[in-house]
């Protein structure tokens, strides 16, 4: 079944066209990696698919639901791990998890939260305020949020930045788990070495235009 399908999406900011005529289809169980230089429009495309922004032109469907009309249902089944970790500085890790999941309509038990925190390796800091967290720890906590939410569609914006080797492995492990449970993953990254092992399809976004590239081309460095 098709998880993400967008047709002819364009987006302009003021006078500048950030995305031009993007069409993309991602099946369930697929991980699509979006490469491209800075300012190519990767984050904008993810934000549009995450129902945070409305495209200037074009339409898209997620899990067969219209992205402009059935946003609430899409949101309940989708998770966007963005550049900002969506965490409150004055709450501790557990409170942040409980709050974020409560807004999604989920009530994880204390044990579930503890397990997720342990799995991402910050179980020891569960009672610490986020204010004192490092960028990598914040990223891990956001990942723990996604683990508890178990979304069908996962959108990741630069998932490997700020993560160390162990953190990268946890992230990849989680992505594999989602794929094995028939979830779909769309991630933007410029780190093709870290992304390659889990990528099933890849695309190059440049100056607002999307071009699909083969996995072989991904291995050779000439593209970058």
């Amino acid at each position: 079944m098709t998880a993400i399908a967008c047709q002819a999406i364009s987006k302009s900011y003021g006078h500048y066209e950030v995305l031009h005529d993007i069409s993309l289809t991602i099946q369930e169980g697929e991980c699509f990696s979006l490469f491209g230089p800075n300012g190519a429009g990767k984050t904008t495309l993810l934000k549009i698919l995450a129902t945070l922004q409305r495209p200037s032109e074009g339409r898209y469907e997620i899990l067969g639901l219209d992205g402009l009309k059935e946003k609430e249902t899409i949101r309940a089944n989708m998770m966007f791990l963005a550049h900002g970790a969506y965490l409150y500085d004055d709450l501790n890790a557990k409170e942040n998890l409980a709050f974020a999941l409560a807004l999604r309509g989920q009530t994880p038990t204390d044990r579930d939260m503890k397990l997720a925190l342990d799995r991402v390796g910050i179980g020891a800091f569960a009672e610490m305020k986020i204010r004192n967290y490092s960028a990598g720890m914040k990223k891990r906590l956001a990942l723990a949020k996604a683990m508890l939410a178990k979304p069908k569609v996962l959108l990741l914006d630069e998932p490997f930045t700020a993560l160390d080797t162990a953190g990268t492995e946890i992230m990849r492990e989680y992505i594999r788990e989602r794929l094995s449970e028939n979830g779909a993953v769309l991630m933007s990254t410029h780190d093709h070495d870290k992304a390659r092992p889990i990528t099933s399809r890849a695309g190059m976004l440049n100056q607002g235009m999307l071009k699909e590239i083969s996995l072989e081309a991904l291995k050779s460095d000439e593209l970058f």
Binding site: G14, H15, Y16, E17, H20, Q53, N206
Partner: protein, 242 residues
């Protein structure tokens, strides 16, 4: 979409609106300045009314058009309606400013004061502030879709607020300045009515004409910039792509 067809149809008669506005205003000016008798109480000063009252009515009309357009936009998300709202806000702000200015000039000889915290004057001033806030808000947003949405929300809130503002100022004024200043003795006789009607119709036509011109202006501006932007990104693409 329907609105596009309507706009195109109306746009075809743009010249008629302009010409009609010019004729009505010239006729109104002639009758108002030369052809009509002075008022018994106010004398020649009553002639200010022929320019002040149509301006005031039209600015109110502009606000109503703005809020209906905003609701329409939130419902249909049609960019041309947003261009129309943007246009009508600027025109409405100018009409409101001029209505206030002519009102002040009228107030000096009749009430012997430039300004009074009269309910109507005060609510017009607040309406002007809302319109200016609206125009400022639009300059502070980069995403045109978001700009249109936020502007529409502000316009609708203002529409709900204006009657409440008017009533509250009215109550407040009757508490503090009991009836010392009022429009006295302007009985609407035919001598006043004819130039007033001419100018009112002329101003409404002029407003519609200006609205069409400005909507067209904003639309063309958007079109040109979109094309330029697309051309620019294609240009970059051809340079970076081997």
């Amino acid at each position: 979409m329907i609105i596009h067809r309507v706009i195109r149809k109306v746009q075809r008669f743009q010249g008629w609106f302009g010409g009609g506005a010019a004729l009505c205003i010239i006729a109104g000016l002639y009758i108002g300045l030369i052809g009509s008798p002075p008022d018994y109480y106010q004398g020649e000063v009553v002639r200010i009314m022929y320019v002040h009252v149509p301006l005031a009515h039209t600015s109110l009309f502009a606000y109503i058009v703005l809020s209906i357009g905003s609701m329409w936009y939130l419902w249909k998300r049609d960019p041309i309606v947003d261009n129309m709202c943007h246009a009508v806000a600027a025109i409405g702000a100018i009409f409101t400013t001029l209505a206030l200015a002519t009102g002040m000039i009228w107030g000096k000889p009749t009430w012997n004061t430039w300004w009074t915290w009269d309910a109507r004057l005060t609510s017009y001033t607040i309406m002007l502030m809302i319109l200016i806030g609206y125009l400022m808000l639009r300059t502070f947003i980069d995403d045109s879709e978001k700009e249109a949405r936020y502007a529409a929300v502000l316009a609708i809130l203002g529409l709900v607020d204006l009657p409440i503002i008017h009533f509250s100022v009215e109550w407040w004024r009757t508490l503090h300045q009991p009836q010392s200043i009022s429009m006295r003795g302007v009985s609407i006789s035919s001598g006043i009515l004819i130039p007033l009607m001419c100018m009112s119709i002329g101003m409404s036509l002029l407003f519609s004409y200006m609205l069409m011109v400005r909507t067209q202006l904003l639309y063309l501006d958007r079109l040109l910039h979109a094309k330029k932007g697309r051309l620019m990104s294609q240009f970059h693409m051809s340079k970076t792509d081997p």
